[in-house]
Amino acid sequence: MKFYFMHLMPYADLDLDYDQKYNSAWITLPNSYYDPKKGHVLYNRYLDELEYADQLGFDGICVNEHHQNAYGLMPIPAVTAGALSRRTRNVKIAVLGRALPLLNNPLVVAEEFTMLDNITGGRLIAGFVRGIGAEYHAWGVNPAESHGRFHEAHDLIVRAWTEPGPFTFEGKYYDFEYVNTWPRPYQQPRPPIWIPSQGSSETIEWAADPSRKYTYLQTFTPAAMLAKYMKMYKEVAEGYGYEASEEQLGWSVPLYVAETDEIAMREAKPHIETFLNKFLRMPKEMLLPPGYLSLKSMMGVMKAKGAIGGHQTIDSVMEKGMFICGSPATVREKLEQYQKEIGFGHLLTLLQFGTLPAELTRKNIEIYAKEVMPYLRDKTAAPVAAAGA
């Protein structure tokens, strides 16, 4: 198993009473809530944290993309990744983003990703997403075209990386006389592609296709859902006539580890609850604009009452396996059990969340890197080797 430090870069100095006046930390929350002086400090702190992961032996660091919100200050992830590319030496840098349908010219992504891949000498992992529904309010892009634009932009970018240019591209949304991307990818034939998702059978069928075999990344969902979708990927792969490797499966989860269970719970509680109830807060209409999901999926969501917006606590998310928290022994045991049962090859941990301050974040990263990662590396080395043999 491989270990990654994922960062959302929240605006941790947010006035948490904003919700007395506004119903979301996204789109409609005035940016007068953002103080650039505090933002400057936060950006540099967060970049330091990601760079520290390189020194501590993580396999990778992950940056994110969201627009017009206090939840994550990474609207243009290539800037974050670019800053990290020269200050890190060994880690892979995963950009998770990029939200392809938002772009009027997806060749921007082909170009920025190949630049990162060349500068880092092949340390880039290319993420492709549709963005969350709020992005379509933020950028004004039609959510009814979300799926169509995603697939077309994806095809265009992969062709730009793998086919000799110049060639012409004729799509419904994009039409180019010359596709001739300079530079070409450092990794040949192309950088690895990851597909983050909150769970979708259509996405799994597409990602697992033998022509793609993309890494499917399950983000912030209950462990039961994680198990279901990982199993689905393996079954779909079997249906295609091949065995999915652990390299094709990843999980992204917030995690806090401290000296004891009691200390971990006490230190994490206010910050994970702020993350859940303040930073993630948005009405259903903002999260799920029309067309973002298929009509059938929308019906499912409408029926799942309280799926969005209900007050969440550290206990409720720990119970569902959406947050891992405890002493090194507790965290090791939980992760080992999930890995053994579910069989994912990439573990992305969100080691800073909500308002978690610098000193606790640093302690979390250190204990995780020193007391959890090495143990799990040894424990999970054998099955990975066997799967590859």
């Binding site: 309010h137 004004g140 039609n142 959510p143 259903k284 209409e285 604009p289 029309p290 019906m299 409408m302």
Partner: protein
């Protein structure tokens, strides 16, 4: 008088129609919430006219055709409908997005029309005069904002669909509305360039208290169409045909009579 249901295949799309009454043809184009029911104003108009109420492609019981991408597609579709039904001198009445379709149709070809009546249509943009962000409203906020008299909102909320089938129609209507109106938001930058082509008698109406599209759009739009008249309904929100049904029916009828003279 009972209305008749039918399904016609036009431009490859199975399209649901309700029709009632006899007389000069009146084609009613519905707004974003569709036309699932034969409403009292349709019944009242059917006493004098042959009232034809289709559900647009992508709405209600009509199919979502592959070709539907934008408002222009629906304008050409309704030119096909007029041909298909063999309508001549049709009185075209459009509510909100239905009014926008009617305007788009008329700039393309208004030779089949006798008159054009639109209530609170989007379609043009006047800088600084923003329409409401209907896509961020919850279902309840939407119903509240549709009416000036909240007793109509209470009735509409009580009648909200509870079955899976009914809720699916709500989602489908919303999806099609997004398809045609999300970006550019509720207008077509090319429409106002060609509104001068409309040569049939045209009436533009607006509820005085419309919370979706400001009533100032009414006179601005009428000013772009040769000879068009702009009027308002007092104490009324976005749906005069519900909130001021009698006045709406009376004005539609009198305008059609004036146009025929």
């Amino acid at each position: 008088m009972p209305f008749r249901d039918s399904t016609e295949t036009i431009a490859g799309c199975n399209t649901h129609f309700m029709r009632g009454g006899t007389g000069a043809p009146l084609l009613f184009l519905h707004g974003a919430n569709g036309a699932a029911h034969w409403l009292p104003f349709m019944e009242a108009l059917s006493e004098r006219y042959e009232v034809i109420v289709p559900e647009h492609p992508g709405y209600g019981a009509s199919e979502m055709p592959e070709w539907l991408d934008n408002i222009g597609d629906l304008a050409f579709f309704y030119l096909d409908v007029i041909d298909h039904l063999g309508l001549d001198k049709v009185n075209l009445v459009g509510q909100s997005i239905g009014g926008w379709i009617a305007l788009e149709l008329a700039v393309r070809n208004d030779t089949g029309l006798a008159s054009l009546i639109v209530n609170a249509p989007p379609g043009i943009r006047i800088p600084g005069l923003r329409k409401a962000d209907i896509f961020l409203w919850s279902p309840e906020e939407t119903v509240r904002n549709l009416f000036q008299d909240q007793s109509f909102s209470e009735q509409a909320l009580a009648a909200a669909p509870t079955t899976d089938e009914g809720q699916m129609v709500v989602l489908k209507n919303r999806l099609t509305t997004a398809k045609i109106a999300w970006q550019p938001r509720l207008y077509n930058p090319d429409l106002e360039k060609w509104l001068h082509r409309i040569s049939v008698p045209t009436l533009v109406t607006w509820g005085e208290q419309d919370k979706l599209i400001p009533k100032e759009y009414g006179p601005a739009l009428a000013g772009m169409i040769p000879g068009a008249i702009s009027e308002t309904f007092a104490d009324c929100g976005h749906l005069p045909y519900v909130e001021k049904a009698d006045a709406f029916v009376a004005r539609v009828s009198s305008f059609i009579e004036e146009s025929a003279r």
